[in-house]
Amino acid sequence: MSRSTFNRRRFLGTAAMSSAVLASPAYLRRAHAAGGEVNIWTYNDFVPKAFKEQFESETGIKVNVRLVDDQGKQFNLLAAEAPNPTVDIMTVAGHRFLQFIDSELLAPLDTSRLSNWGNINPTFSESDWATINGNKWGAPILSGMEVLSYNTELVSAEEAQTWDTLFSEKYSGQTAYIIQDMMSIVMLMKGYDGNMVAYMDDPDKAAAIVEEAKQFLIEKKPMVRKYYDSGAEVQQMFVNQDIALGHSWNGPAAALINDGFPLAMSIPQEGSYGFVYTYNIANNAPNVDNAYTFLNAILASPEIGASMTKASGFISTYKDASNYLTDLEKASTSFPEEQLANLQFFRAEANEMKYGLVDPAVEAIKAA
């Protein structure tokens, strides 16, 4: 996700956060001055620049970041390089763990090598999805969710309380969404389990539900302005006023709000899904020791978590990270309790069946 604007407030915020990180306890001195390099595949803004510079100067380990924008592409890249990948750390969403683990692409995380593991909020580090086959597979860093984002000058907060507004005649031609994500949400809108875990024993019902969601999106196709793929695209569409509202991840929307754009987001009453990004160590990673040094360093303080939130817009999983956010940043990364009650996390158990049905449906919607 790339940033679309850079204003004075953001500059001051970044400068202040850089100073805070630089003035923070010398956590990095504890890291062994190992030298060498660590190769990371991650999303834009997930490795704070000030942290990266300090880490490199303190440890002598060069941090090579390759940007990714899609979990599927990341999987394919890694699968193509296996069993001798060039990457040490990837950024896998918690609900995609199983696929990577089944393909032997991830190494179990040895949390005993991470003295700062306790700095992660247990809500994320100890949740049921975080432990598979008795192992931890990733260090949670940022949390996101599927939200309804809307231009506050064009759409009212009341209208944004339901996903129906996204498909209303009133906003025809002024909406955008990611089809694959929208399939899960449409299932939820229609009262089904978008994770499809409830239908694991009934594939026919699962197929019928996906078909219903597909037909719904095909029927509504003339009303959508754009099917998009990346956060940068939806940001651009909002800024250019090509759309009035759309489905998005909270990160790109929060980044626009922090830039002063008249945007707000909601978790509609029908519900939505949340996900957690984690840093993971690749199976057979070439620089494992450096990868653990990096992970331990990035988990060292809530200031780093806050700087990741400031840059990406996603919510930090670190304890007390919100103490280092401005009021506007706090507002853009928090939701009312009644809306949070509508949120559930993506689950991976039925992924093989779910995406076996959803992926062809997505192609059918695009082609229709």
Partner: protein
């Protein structure tokens, strides 16, 4: 020849050439022996000269295509641990067995054909003006000006179109300023914006062959036709057009082939109803799982189809040229 003559006439020059690097190299015995072996026969000379181009063609052009073909005939790629790869035609059968994929496929071919025609219509007058009405001195300057947008990449030029056509873009602002519209016209994310983008990106590939063909056309032909009483339209139809068909053919083939493969521009400028086949193919490579073989098969199908259509088009153009020369 002149060097030899010069050298023979002037011993001083010969001595000077021996002192330079090339002079020393030419007179170096191992080099002389090597050159003797290399140029011993025309056949050997040909083989040595052909080695690098053939190697380049095989590794850089045909190699990836053959690898794509190989992947398209397997049931798993990349091969996951514990999985055995098998030979199969299923990936090709999937295309022919599922109508879902036909729509973006035919849409791509239709878009590419229409946009090729539009590019031809738009660029022919530009090429004609440049070749026939601009002085030799200024032609290079004009060509340089036309080349300027091509100094930056496809993505940057696509974003330039977005800036131009967006709701808050230059076109809408001008229309609003003149009072022609109250609300912005939604140009973006439509067939129109995608078409504008592709024509803009491919125009030069049409322009250069046309310019080259028109530039070779002797002015005297049109003058003779005029003397015989042919009007402007007749002169264009009977003289200019037939004699530049080769340029038209080259330009159309280039633009058509490039248009069938565009990915980023349709993604950025297109809308929900403009999905092209490149997006469908890319979908198989993005989706996590064993979908690469299907993507490779679909890419091969598009490649073969584009080649077939291009071949038919070339035959037609050849027949037209032949007909005109009779």
């Amino acid at each position: 020849m002149s060097l030899k003559a010069g050298a023979a006439n002037s011993p001083g020059t010969h001595e000077a050439s021996r002192r330079t690097f090339w002079g020393r190299l030419i007179n170096w015995t191992p080099y002389r022996l090597l050159m003797g072996i290399v140029t011993a026969s025309p056949r050997r000379q040909f083989l040595i000269l052909a080695a690098f181009p053939v190697l380049w063609l095989l590794t850089q052009h045909l190699g990836p295509m053959l690898q794509m073909l190989r992947v398209s005939l397997t049931d798993a790629y990349p091969v996951a641990p514990g999985v055995e790869q098998h030979f199969t035609f299923d990936n090709y059968a999937r295309f022919f067995g599922d109508r879902i994929f036909w729509q973006p496929f035919f849409r791509t071919l239709i878009f590419a054909s229409v946009l090729t025609f539009c590019t031809l219509i738009l660029t022919y007058p530009v090429a004609y003006f440049l070749a026939c009405h601009v002085s030799r001195k200024n032609q290079m300057l004009m060509l340089l000006l036309l080349l300027i947008p091509f100094w930056v990449g496809e993505i940057v030029r696509t974003y330039a179109i977005m800036i131009l056509l967006g709701n808050t873009g230059a076109v809408n602002l001008v229309l609003k300023w003149f009072g022609l519209i109250d609300r912005p016209i939604p140009f973006m994310y439509t067939s129109f914006s995608m078409g504008i983008g592709i024509v803009y990106l491919t125009a030069l590939y049409m322009l250069l062959p046309l310019y080259s063909a028109l530039e070779k056309l002797p002015k005297s032909y049109n003058e003779a036709a005029a003397d015989l009483g042919a009007g402007a339209w007749t002169r264009f139809r009977r003289v200019t057009m037939p004699l530049t068909l080769e340029g038209v053919s080259s330009g159309c083939i280039l633009v058509f082939l490039i248009s069938t493969g565009f990915y980023a521009t349709p993604v950025l400028l297109g809308g929900p109803s403009t999905t092209v086949f490149a997006e469908t193919i890319a979908g198989f490579f993005h989706v996590a799982g064993d979908e690469w073989p299907t993507g490779a098969a679909f890419a091969t199908i598009m490649f073969v189809t584009a080649m077939l259509l291009t071949g038919i088009f070339q035959r037609l153009m050849y027949a037209m040229r032949k007909g005109d020369t009779k």
